[in-house]
Each structure stands twice: as structure tokens, then as C-alpha cells.
């Protein structure tokens, strides 16, 4: 029940490596924020600084209104779930969950009440007498979460809690975390490297790379309006296609030309580009696989491609295509709409044409890698 504010927070290790640069973020009370990014991007370091496990090299960190830079972890009123669960192997599940309460000299009755309550929520009551060794991965995960919720903390930190689970269990636990969040209404900070998880869980997503925040926004925002090449590539699966193209400033507005096709931009885009006084230049064009339209016949303003790989996913096909200048393009093709004949033609080496409307195009500057419109 507290907000978390990071102002110019910085982490420099002893060997002069800077893990986090100038991190600014305000997390509102009861918000679910997900830090996401590739490994080594500083997301875990940031979380550990919030937890108090790493010293803060610069800036201020507030939980609620209190500056906690030099406060010991135990006094920050936080709870944390670790990637490897960090259950104490030598004591029972019950004692694991009661550990923090006992350290706070809570009465036995109170401890018992809280542990049972948490166990009830997570459905692990019958395992309370066991030691962690005797539990399955999912159960351990639950215990780890239970150990955090008995505390009723102001901020709930989770460091890649699902990455040690297999795919099926992970999906299940993901849903449970969403439910849990509804029941224990508090501030969540969740660190993760999997964008799907981030998109499904977070109220807001913080995308990080090399110690810098790339973009902060709701899942929809970061999906629709990625500010740079990295965010665009990181969010969405399969990954966004990046094609070399040219932005041409004509008399009647801007258009994008690539591989013989020319696609005029829409009004919003034109305005944005004109507002930034951008002329004709080379660009990297980003198009999501699900936004392309596949045409089976010859078309004048479409791009000719050759099929390289055909991945059958059941409800849809993922086609890996090669265009003339060897750019690789992935497209998603729902299977319901395909006729048997069309499907039979989707073989290695056969040709097809793709096109996409202006509104799904993301234009990136090849130098700065920024989005020309939103960046």
C-alpha cells in the first residue's frame, strides 16, 4: 500500500561497470509494474536496489514518502519472491511461511492465523508439514509466494518467479498471479525477460536495455507505439519485421518506397513527420507479422517474396519469406481463410506477394534507431 519512486537512481559496481543509468520512475500505489528486457539490462539490479539487496550508487529511492536509500531490507516493508524460490530447505513449509512473522515477534496465534490464511489462498494447506524438498516446482512457487503474502507487505517484488517452471505450468501460474493480484491488492514490481508474461501481467511495462529505460507504458502503448527499434523488436511474437526502405517526401506528402512498391503514409503520420521537419532519407521499416496481408496473385504495389520456411502452428501459419534484397520477412497467415489449393501452394520456393497499410508501419531512423513518428 505504497507508491515507489525512483529518482535518478544509478548503480555503479566496484569495477566501474555501470549497471543502471539514471533510472526515473514513479510507481503508483497498487500498481502492477513489470520490468522487462534481455538479460543483463539492469532490471534485476533495479529490483534488488528497491529491495535493498544492492547499494544505490546515486539518486533517491522512496517507498511511500520515506527515502529508503540506506534502510536495511528488513525495514523497508517489502516482500520478494526469488527466481529459484529461495525456500529454506531445512524447515517445513509452515515454518518457511512463518519465518518472517516470528522474526517480528508475532504471537503464535497470529502467526498461525496468517499462515493458514495464506495457505488457503494458494491451496497449499495440505503441504504445510512437508519440507520444500518434497514439493513439486509449482508447489514450491506457491510457497514462495505464500511466504511473501503472509507479511502483508507494502510492496511485492518478484524476480523472474516463473522462469524455472515448464511452459504449461508457467501459463497456469501466470493466471494465478493475476488472480492473486486481485486478492492481495498491493503494489507489485515484477521482473521478467519474457515479453508475453509482461504484456499479460502488467498495468505498465518498463522496457530496459543496457541499464537505460527504453520505454514505459501500458502493454497496449508499447505494442502500438514503440519508441525505438529495440522496443519494437522486443515486444510482440513473432518479432516485428525490419526492412530497409526509403522515406520519400513528395509534393502530396510522405511515402515509403521499398522493393519496388510505394506506400503513401496516412494523415497522422504525415503531420507528425512534417512537424519534425524530416526530409527524404533511408529508414528501417517495421511491420508486425500479423499486420501483413498476403496476396496470392500478382499485384502492382505489392512486394514479391519467396517462401523459405513454412511453420504450421495450427490456427495459423508462420511463413518465413525472402525478398529480393534478402531481407527476411515473417508473416502470419490464419489457416481458416485459406482454400485447399492455396494451402497446397505454400511450399518452399513458391512465390507470393505481401502488402500492408500505412497505419501499421513503424518508421525508424537507421542511425538513432528511434521511431520517426513517436520517438
Amino acid at each position: 500500500m505504497a507508491s515507489v519512486t525512483l529518482e535518478h537512481v544509478k548503480k555503479v559496481y566496484d569495477n566501474k561497470v555501470t549497471a543502471v543509468h539514471d533510472f526515473n520512475l514513479e510507481i503508483k500505489d497498487k500498481e502492477f509494474v513489470v520490468f522487462v528486457g534481455p538479460s543483463g539490462c539492469g532490471k534485476s539490479t533495479t529490483l534488488r536496489m528497491i529491495a535493498g539487496l544492492e547499494d544505490i550508487s546515486g539518486g533517491t529511492l522512496k517507498i511511500g514518502d520515506r527515502v529508503v536509500n540506506d534502510v536495511e531490507p528488513k525495514d523497508r516493508d517489502i516482500a520478494m519472491v526469488f527466481q529459484n524460490y529461495a525456500l529454506y530447505p531445512h524447515i517445513t513449509v509452515y515454518e518457511n511461511m512463518a519465518f518472517s512473522l516470528r522474526l517480528r515477534h508475532m504471537s503464535n496465534e497470529e502467526v498461525h492465523k496468517r499462515v493458514c490464511q495464506a495457505a488457503e489462498i494458494l491451496g497449499i494447506t495440505e503441504y504445510l508439514g512437508r519440507k520444500p524438498k518434497a514439493l513439486s516446482g509449482g508447489q514450491r512457487q506457491r510457497v514462495a509466494i505464500g511466504r511473501a503474502i503472509v507479511r502483508d507487505p507494502a510492496v511485492f517484488l518478484m524476480d523472474e518467479p516463473l522462469s524455472n517452471l515448464d511452459a504449461k505450468l508457467r501459463n497456469q501460474m501466470r493466471a494465478e498471479i493475476i488472480l492473486l493480484r486481485k486478492r492481495v491488492d498491493t503494489t507489485f514490481i515484477y521482473v521478467n525477460h519474457d515479453q508475453t508474461e509482461a504484456m499479460t501481467l502488467g498495468d505498465r511495462i518498463v522496457i530496459m536495455k543496457d541499464g537505460y529505460i527504453q520505454q514505459v507504458g501500458t502493454p497496449q502503448e508499447v505494442f502500438d507505439t514503440p519508441v525505438n527499434l529495440f522496443v519494437a523488436g522486443f515486444i510482440g511474437s513473432p518479432q516485428m519485421n525490419f526492412l530497409k526502405a526509403k522515406l520519400i517526401k513528395g509534393a502530396d506528402g510522405y511515402s515509403v518506397s521499398l522493393l519496388g512498391a510505394s506506400i503513401p503514409l496516412n494523415r497522422d503520420q504525415n503531420e507528425a513527420l512534417a512537424g519534425k521537419k524530416i526530409g527524404s532519407q533511408d529508414i528501417i521499416l517495421g511491420v508486425r507479422p500479423e499486420h501483413t496481408t498476403v496476396l496470392f496473385g500478382q499485384n502492382t504495389n505489392a512486394i514479391e517474396c519467396t517462401i523459405n520456411v513454412n511453420e504450421m502452428m495450427g490456427s495459423e501459419l508462420h511463413l518465413h519469406l525472402t525478398s529480393q534484397n534478402q531481407d527476411r520477412i515473417i508473416v502470419r497467415l490464419p489457416t481458416v481463410d485459406l482454400t485447399a489449393e492455396q494451402r497446397a501452394n505454400l511450399n518452399y520456393g513458391s512465390k507470393l506477394y505481401i502488402t500492408f497499410p500505412a497505419k501499421v508501419m513503424h518508421l525508424f531512423d537507421p542511425e538513432s534507431e528511434k521511431n520517426l513518428i513517436w520517438g
Binding site: A51, G52, L53, E72, P73, K74, I78, A79, M80, F82, Q83, N84, A86, Y88, P89, H90, I91, T92, Y94, E95, A98, F99, S100, L103, R104, N108, V111, H112, C116, T125, E126, L128, G129, R147, R151
Partner: protein, 557 residues
Amino acid sequence: MSTMKKVPEADVMTDNKSGVAPESKIEKTRSKSGHERRVNTAVYVVLIVMSVVWLTPFVFLVCQSFRSFLNEGGGMVPYVIPQKGFSLDNYKALFIKGFTAKKYLVNDLTLQEFFDTLDGDETLARDNAEAAALLRSAAEGRDPAKDTISSVMSAVQKDESVGQDKRDAASAFMRTVFSAARNQRFENDFRQDFNGRFIPWWTKTFVIGACFSLAVVALCILLKRLNENSDQLYRFRLLIMLGILIAAYLCYVLTIKQQMGYAPAAAGDYVQLGIIFLLFALFSLLAVNSFLKREGKLLQQIPGYPPETAWDKIKKAPVLFLEFLAMFVVMTCALIPTENSDYVGWYGNTLTIALFTAVIQTVIVLSVSYALSRLRFKGRKLIMNVVLVLGLFPGFLSMITLYFLLKSLGMTGPGAVPGLILIYCASSGMGYYISKGFFDTIPKSLDESARIDGATRFQVFLKIIMPLAKPIVIYTVLMAFMGPWGDYVFASYVAFGNVPTYNVAVGLYQWVNVADYQGYFTLFCAGGVLVAVPITALFLALQKYYVEGVTGGAVKG
């Protein structure tokens, strides 16, 4: 150089040049079972030969310890082949106060002693009546307390009136009596010491405690195979334990004492032992109770958790065994006085030193390794480097300085026992490598999790790391406990010349290398066996942990 770092691994993986030709492979498969059998036989032969070589010295050691030092012909040739014949003389001698082998090996007796022996043994007197009469007549008029039988004998030898054969017979007869008299003298001393000073009440505890500890250790080894969790095992253990307790109690009070031919068990004996056992029971109960109280009580309230019975509580308490062991040993070491025979004193000294060292050294080593493994602070690397450099200096270099440091603290000579404890413990922090290596393998997230849960670093150490580090704690205790048993150098230097404060190693070394011509060799064997048996039993019982520590240490450095 840096690019070559990984090369040795690469060698393993890539070097496949020497593949075997397919033809030979087929042939091999055909003859495999026969070949395999031959190889196994060869291995067995080697192993059997090795076992024989490895065990032979110990077998001989035990054999020789049962060969009386009285029969060694004055002990002039001490290391000879063990002969047939079995005697407990060496073991008895270890417990005689003020024992010196000389006293029993001297080749002369007073007339008094001589004739007492003769009178005490009817068959001896009857079979050699003539020779005895000859000596008696020659001894007449002499002072029986002062004159020696040798002087009488030489008088007889010079006496021309007696025939040569008779003189020879007398001489042979006298040698027989010598031997019998020595045995008699030894037996008397032993009885007197055993009856008089050897058995104050705390020593009884020692005897029983030692037997008991051994039995428990042996039992643990025996029962290791059974399933650790089965109720049967626990019940069995409990029964056996009770049985041993009662047996030891009765055995001492009723049997040993009376068998020795001394006063029957008095009411006092029962009371003394009763109090000790009561204390034990109380102590154990308290400890076990506090150990189980919290968990047991709370778990019962959890829905679906089976209610805990009294039996559940008991079976969770293998601690009980360790407690008993520890209590006995502690009491023993606290109460062994210097009034005993040298050997018992040395044993007690060593035990005291070993116990204190085990406790203090373990605390120090674990503290240091925890600090260096888990805590990050300025100067951590410096400390590790300094220790590395210090480790390259030979330990004995500092011996004389240590001696004078201890001397200024009054901890040499008579104060050698605390002095040695201080020496063994003071620098023990330098041996942190192995346990630090172990701590390094415990995931750090456990510490972090506990700290977020509200534990101070001290609580993390005590409540999280210590219970998880059990194997290495046991290893450290074991090593610290065994160390002092074998230390000769510091022990001899610190206790220099002060016999009561020797440890077993110094005492026995002196027997072999300084006084061996006096026939102490078999005594050394007996003393060595008494040291080796409990230590070996302890070691074998805890072998698992030793292996864990040693291999971990070797792999990590």
C-alpha cells in the same frame, strides 16, 4: 596465455584420433565376458593384497599389545615377532599410578620378597624343595628386608661343599622365582592402585561412558543400512540404548567391582550413578522438548495435518544420542584429575584439549568462513591474501615465540593444557578454505530472502546457514577433535619436561623413543590401541562427512 585457458578441456573433447578399428571391436565383444572376469579377478587379487598390507601393522600392533612387558626378558629386544600367549599386563600397567617398568624388571629381590613369593606358591616350593632348602639355609642369619637374594646366590655359588648340579638347579630355580615375584609385585601394585585411587566415582563414569559411546557409535554404523525413517528403527534404537544404559550400570556396580575381589557395591555407588543418569535424562528431555515444542504444537492446529503423538516426538530426537555422548565426555574431561597414572592423565589431557579445541575452533572457523563467503566488506580480499602468504611459512618457525608468549601467560609446563588449547585455536581462523568453499555453494538468495523477511545477518548465520551447513560443521568438528590427538611437536615443546601435562602423543613417543630399552614397547602398543580404537570408531562413523569435506576441499582448493 589467456586464449589458451580452455585448452585442456578442448583436448578431452576433440581428440578422437585413436578410434578403434571395427574388426577388433567385434572380437572384443565376443571375448568380453571372459576378459571382464579375468580383469575383475586381477583387481580382487590386488585389493586383497593391499588390504593385507594395510591391516598387517595394526594386527601386529594389537597382538603385541597383549604380550606382557614382564615376559620380554627385560625388554632389551622390544620389537620382536609376537608370540603366542595372551596377557592384559600392558593394559593394567597403564592404570598404575607412578608406574615405571624398571620397578618390575629389576633383576633382584630382597630375601623377604623372595621367600614370600616362594611361600605363596605351593607347587613352586614343592617341585624345587631341594633348591629352596639350599637357599634358605644360606640365607639364615641375614637381614631379610635388606639383603638381596643375589648376594645369597653368589654365596651359594662359591660354596664348594655343594655339588655343581645342585648349584645350577638353584640358579635356574631362582630365575623362575624372579619371574613369579615380578608378576606378584606387579599384581599387588595393580590391585592396590585399582582399589585405592583408580576408582573414584567420576572414573566409573568414564569407564561406562567410554563403553557406552563406543557401543553407540558401533550401533550407528550397524544400523545405517536400515531405513532412517522407519518407526521400527527408532524403537529398536531406543530399546538398545536403554539396554546398554542398564547393562552398563549393573555391570559396573555389581560385577566389575566384585570380580576384582574388592569391596562389594555400596549404597553410595548406586546413588552416585543414579544422580548422574538422572541429570542426563533431565538434560536430554529439556533439550528435546524445546527442540520440538514449537513445531509440534503448531502443526497440530493445521487442518489435515496428522496429530502428533508422543512417539512422533521421540523419534525425531536422534539428538539424544549425541547428547549422551557429549555429556559423558564433558563430565569425564572436567573431572579427570592429575592424581592418576601417567597414562590416564595424558589421556585426560588430550581429551580435554581435543574437546575444547573442537568447540572453539569450529566456532572460529565457521565465523571466518561465513564472513569471507557471505559478507562483503572493505579489506576482505586483503585478509584472504594475507592468510595465503602466512600459510607459506612453516608453522614450527613460530614455535619458540609462541613458547615465550605462553610462558608470559603462565601457560607452559604445568599450564600446558590451556596453553595448547590456545595455540590450536588462536590461528585456526586461517583454515577457512574448505568451509568457505562449502558456504559458497549455498545459494545466496537464501540469505537475501531471509534478510528481506526481517532477519539480521546474525540471525541469517544462525537460523539459515548453520542448519544447512551441517555436513561441514561435522567435518570441522571432526578435524578439530582429531588434530590434538596426533600433535607431538607443540605439545612436547609447551609441556616440556612436565610429565603430568603431556598428551598421549608425547607420552607414548617418549616411551618408544626415549625409554624403549626398558621395555616400554608393548606398553606403547597397548596405549596406542586405547587411543586408536575410539578415534577410529568416531572417524569411521563420520567418514561420510570427512569424505565430503576432503573432496570438496580438493576440488575447490
